[in-house]
């Protein structure tokens, strides 16, 4: 039981780090532009492919990582310049739709490149040694990628927080998110700040991509869909647009997600005789073993409830009253 619990907690923390890396990037862009960058998941996917191809080419891991980050940052900058800048300040929905299209381009582009490289659609990710295998802590064995994922997530996020609060560029991002015209009026170069935010966001997504691919072991051009949705949910839980909220929301989501998996079929995991037969039956009915496979549905119901009742997130106060 203890082992099971610890494993679930580590799973939650590891998933939380991944979501946090994604959610911070999403919240950063949303805060400044009011754009839900749906293509963010595809940026992460492309990062995984760049990493895979770099490792296939025999590049050492550090070089592969640098290549991966540089490549994704370039893609982030390109999509901002080409697709998003022309419609900046336009209707929210137009920006959202554009991000769908950008996502389609990245997916199909990856498809095309893998075809040209004579690779199948789904490829096995050459997980580097440091990210494979398990770590044993007492009786508990944990995949090493989960430990490294959690650790590197925390370190990177702390670095991002420092950057955002201690540098003029970071502060400019905050200011632009707070009040874009006022930021312009004090002389902040808004184009530059937006580009920097896209670059940072892409870099974070690329780290998430490496971790995701190492965990999954396999990559395909469509893997970004689910993580971007999860990152969105995390950002909503934390109060959309707030960076620290996104981090909190991401870890909260990590825990929220293991609950159906952990509770589903809990009746069967309990040692015999641990609870009375009546309670055993009750647990079996309320938490059927199939509960875990409904995880995404449960999480989305939660999202919808959040949007309705706490649109400012679990940390945010009451929504400011809307006035004409």
């Amino acid at each position: 039981m203890d082992v099971y619990l610890i494993q679930q907690i580590v799973n939650a923390l590891s998933a939380g780090s991944l979501y946090a890396l994604m959610a911070v990037g999403l919240a950063l862009i949303f805060g400044i532009l009011r754009l839900i960058n749906f293509a963010h998941g595809d940026v992460m996917m492309v990062a995984a492919y760049i990493a895979a191809f770099s490792l296939f080419a025999g590049l050492p891991l550090p070089v592969a990582i640098v290549t991966m980050i540089a490549g994704t940052v370039l893609i982030g900058l390109a999509m901002e310049r080409i697709a998003y800048r022309p419609i900046r300040g336009g209707p929210e929905v137009a920006m959202l739709l554009t991000s769908f299209a950008v996502g389609q381009i990245l997916q199909n582009g990856t498809l095309l490149v893998t075809r040209l490289a004579s690779q199948p659609v789904q490829i096995a990710f050459p997980t580097p040694d440091v990210l494979s295998g398990v770590v044993a802590i007492g009786a508990v064995t944990i995949p090493r990628v989960n430990v490294i994922g959690f650790g590197s997530g925390v370190i990177i996020l702390a670095g991002v927080m420092l950057f955002l609060t201690r540098t003029r560029t970071g502060l400019s991002m905050h200011a632009a998110a707070d009040d874009l015209p006022a930021a312009q009026l004090v002389g902040i170069r808004v184009n530059w700040v937006v580009a920097a935010a896209f670059a940072l966001s892409a870099a974070l997504a690329s780290v998430a991509g490496l971790l995701y691919a190492s965990q999954a072991g396999q990559i395909n051009p469509f893997l970004g869909f689910s993580p971007v949705l999860k990152a969105f949910i995390a950002a909503v839980i934390g109060g959309f647009g707030s960076i620290s909220g996104a981090v909190v929301g991401a870890y909260a989501l990590g825990f929220l997600e293991v609950i159906p998996t952990a509770l589903g079929g809990i009746a069967d995991i309990l040692p015999p005789g641990a609870v009375s037969p009546e309670i055993h039956d009750l647990l079996a009915t309320v938490f059927p073993s199939a509960l875990g496979s409904y995880r995404d549905a449960i999480v989305f119901v939660f999202l919808i409830l959040m949007l309705l009742f706490r649109p400012n997130g679990i940390l945010g106060g009451r929504a400011r009253e809307d006035t004409p």
């Binding site: 009011r34 839900i36 697709a83 022309p86 419609i87 336009g90 209707p91 929210e92 929905v93 137009a94 920006m95 959202l96 739709l97 554009t98 769908f100 299209a101 950008v102 389609q104 381009i105 997916q107 199909n108 582009g109 990856t110 498809l111 095309l112 490149v113 075809r115 040209l116 869909f225 949705l229 969105f232 909503v236 199939a290 496979s293 409904y294 995404d296 549905a297 989305f300 119901v301 999202l303 919808i304 949007l307 309705l308 649109p311 004409p324």
Partner: protein, 354 residues
Amino acid sequence: MRVLQMARPTLIVLLAASAALALLQLSGLAFWQGLAINFAIFVILVQALNLASGFTGVFSLGHIGFMAIGAYTSAILTLPLATKAEYLPNLPVWLEGVHLDMTVGPVPVGFVAATLIAGALVMVIAGLVGAVLMRLSGHFVAVATLGFLVIVRVVLFNADDITRGSRTFSNVAPYTNLWWAWGWAAIAIYMAWRLKFSGYGRAMFAQKGDRWAARSIGISILRPRLVAFVAGAFLSAVAGSLYAHFITSFSPTVFYFDLTFRVITMLVVGGMGSVSGAVIGTAIVLALAEALRRIEGATLLYGLGGILLAVFFIAVIIFRPSGILGQREIDLEQLVAWRPRRGRRRGPGSATPD
């Protein structure tokens, strides 16, 4: 007499369309017949989204979920008894005995009934979902409806006993032909058109234009949004039923984001809020996609088509954000008589600067 005169252009177009369909039917060109049925199904889907989103400004990404429910419902309802017991052995008892596979003469009444039942079921679901989600606005409603799509997919994948889960659902009777598809497409166009040029449509466009102003004249925001959402859901379910009985085997993966995005592209290209624009947008994107598919096939550059379609879509959003027609309409009368633009049909949001 006056009524007849007013209806004349509609009649002419209907007759011409019927003649074209009959010719296509007689020609035996299977590829073109298939394409025409596809076109009709997309027209219904795009009109559904047009109602739900184009008229109201509330962006729904969930309507393909309604299509999926419609497809599965109609497919299960029309399975013959013999196949059913063997194919879906674990169906709930009350569904076991249902088999809407009867025909009266050449008319598959069971199919019609199953389609209508699917539509009704989806309307109930949409009413419940919509009553909750239509309170949101902007991109939040988009993501919440996307959440609905994910929920439908998860349920379809996991409700093995009813949907066969991730396995392909086949053995669906091929009832859908040119006439059913285009008959329903005509109904969808008619529904959208009538709604647009009624008080309901005006209320929808008004709350899209300015929420506060709409409330200030007594329009409750929720009601027109909900009417549009539910009507769109009904049409999506019909499209799902037609699709199921056209393709005859499918799995939950079909009803997901790619299809959603395809329908959105068609609507945005045609002009959100324009009934005739939706048809034109569907035709353009369908033709483009088909051409690109052939190019991909010939060059083996798979993915190129998707890239070019998305680039086209972004270009439309940047350079012609309101699509080809905006919210305007092409008048049938004008189309038939080829008169100089005099009586361009005006409706909510369709005014043109003089």
